[in-house]
């Protein structure tokens, strides 16, 4: 089977003056269509850089990102990003924020009425249709993130990129949003890559967990398959043996074999 998304021997280094700092080294990964993959690692290991490379917001130093066998090196709506701090435009309402994306990406293929239906369908998907005329400042952090997800989904992306989407949220809101993301993933089957530093979140949501070694020159240490049937329910899983085993494997990787040493910087 051909890989849907392929990260082919990717290196990334940043040059500042004469100093070159190597951030990522020899990243190799293939992701199938419909797969949910989490990338986990200690802070500073370059996982956000990796997401930016896939999104095309940063250019690779060597190697290539291949989506359906075509190289991508610039950003585009087929790789929609949900940013950690939502980055909704504060002067637009929830509806207008999504409309900006929809009218740009689907403006040629859909009529005005179809676009309206499409925006409302995506707002319904994240249960935010009731707040369509609110501005970002008037809704809570969790709701903003929901709108951010709706905006990304509304672009009809081939791959959905989530950059620590729940990092800034409290634990309860985070759980609600994780359930929402699982629900959306099961309904749409969207190929998803999520950056996270939360072990439970990674195990709960992913088909595979990609564990990064520490930088500099970070690379993929291990890839763990999570053989849990879907739909997954967090309460049942909290005592499930497979869940606990996966969780333990990730924790061991992060805290035994690749302990984060701050002094190393």
């Amino acid at each position: 089977m051909k890989a849907y998304l392929k990260l082919d021997h990717i290196d990334k280094s940043f040059a500042r003056g004469n100093q070159v700092s190597e951030v990522l080294k020899d990243i190799r990964l293939t992701i199938d269509k419909g797969e949910f993959v989490s990338i986990i690692g200690h802070s500073g290991c370059g996982k956000s850089t990796l997401l930016n490379l896939i999104a095309g917001l940063t250019k690779v130093s060597a190697g290539a990102v291949l989506l359906e066998d075509k190289e991508v090196d610039s950003p585009g709506p087929e790789r929609a990003v949900v940013f950690q701090n939502h980055s909704l435009l504060p002067w637009l309402t929830v509806y207008e924020n999504i409309n900006l994306a929809v009218s740009k990406v689907l403006g040629r293929s859909k009529s005005r009425a179809e676009r309206h239906d499409w925006i409302m369908r995506n707002l319904d998907l994240v249960q935010m249709a009731h707040a369509k005329d609110k501005r970002p400042a008037e809704i809570s952090g969790g709701m903003k993130q929901r709108v951010g997800i709706a905006r990304a989904l509304a672009m009809e992306p081939k791959i959905l990129l989530l950059d620590e989407p729940f990092g800034a949220l409290d634990a309860l809101t985070r759980a609600h949003l994780q359930d929402a993301v699982m629900d959306i993933h099961s309904r749409l089957g969207s190929t998803t890559i999520m950056i996270t530093h939360d072990v439970d979140e990674a195990v709960l949501l992913s088909d595979r967990i990609v564990m990064m070694t520490n930088g500099p020159a970070a690379t993929i240490g291990e890839v763990l398959a999570v053989p849990l049937a879907r739909p997954r329910r967090r309460i049942e899983l909290s005592s499930d043996r497979t869940f606990l085993r996966c969780r333990e494997a990730v924790l061991k990787f992060l805290y035994e074999r690749h302990r984060f040493v701050e002094a190393a910087e």
């Binding site: 585009g76 980055s87 504060p90 994306a101 740009k104």
Partner: protein, 296 residues
Amino acid sequence: MSIQTIEDTTVKVFPAKPAEVIAFTAKARRRIDPIVIAGKLASALVPPAIVIALMLVVWQIACSSPTASLPPPSQVWNEAYDLIAHPFFNNGPQDIGLAWRVLISLQRVAIGFGLAAVVGVALGALVGQSIWAMRGLDPVFQILRTVPPLAWLPLSLAAFRDSSPSAIFVIFITSIWPIIINTAVGVRNIPEDYRNVSRILRLNQFEFFVKIMVPAAAPYIFTGLRIGIGLSWLAIVAAEMLTGGVGIGFFIWDAWNSSRLPDIIVALAYIGVTGFCLDRLVAAVGAFVTRGTTAK
């Protein structure tokens, strides 16, 4: 059993509470509102009224002696009464009410300032967006912006060979610098996230300018516009004194030449009030346009 009774009572009490609270606040608000508004108005209007009254009294006393070089307020009121009471009279080409003169000056300001706003925002966007445009243009702007408005007048008279476009040019060149500089700062401060959103959506340059850059930099742009409108009102009065015509600036110069000091004092009051209104107008437009922009 005991647990159940407790639950029952809490369930009964809970829904009754919010209804009461809402009714109470609504009543309380309606009762207090007019008093609050009157109180706020009084606290805003009474202190300046007292200060103005005191200033008038001091001025009256200071200028009452027959040897005083300036007229007291009573003399201003008597001699310039038709200027104060009838701002819109029109007795022929050179004998018109002060409101007409202010309007003529405002018209020049509108043209000069309008041009400065359009060109200033465009240049500011360029300087804020492109590092090379900034390196090339910023030193030039920093030098030119320190040139006093009237120093431009002889040059613009020579270039345009007419007083009216020269006055407009002086307004343009005076008010454009704060608009350029503030717009550039605003554009430079657009969060990287907004740029990333536009890159993912593949917005072209024009769409980025209209949909992201201008709204994101709007608070800065309006700061520049507000400084700019103040400067252009300063410049127009000075420029009209030299170029002539029927504006409020020339009226003052004309009054000085025919020794009508009370008229000058009335004209100063008109200029001050108009400048204040212009400033508040731009501030109000800015507050309306940028609502929601600065909130996170």
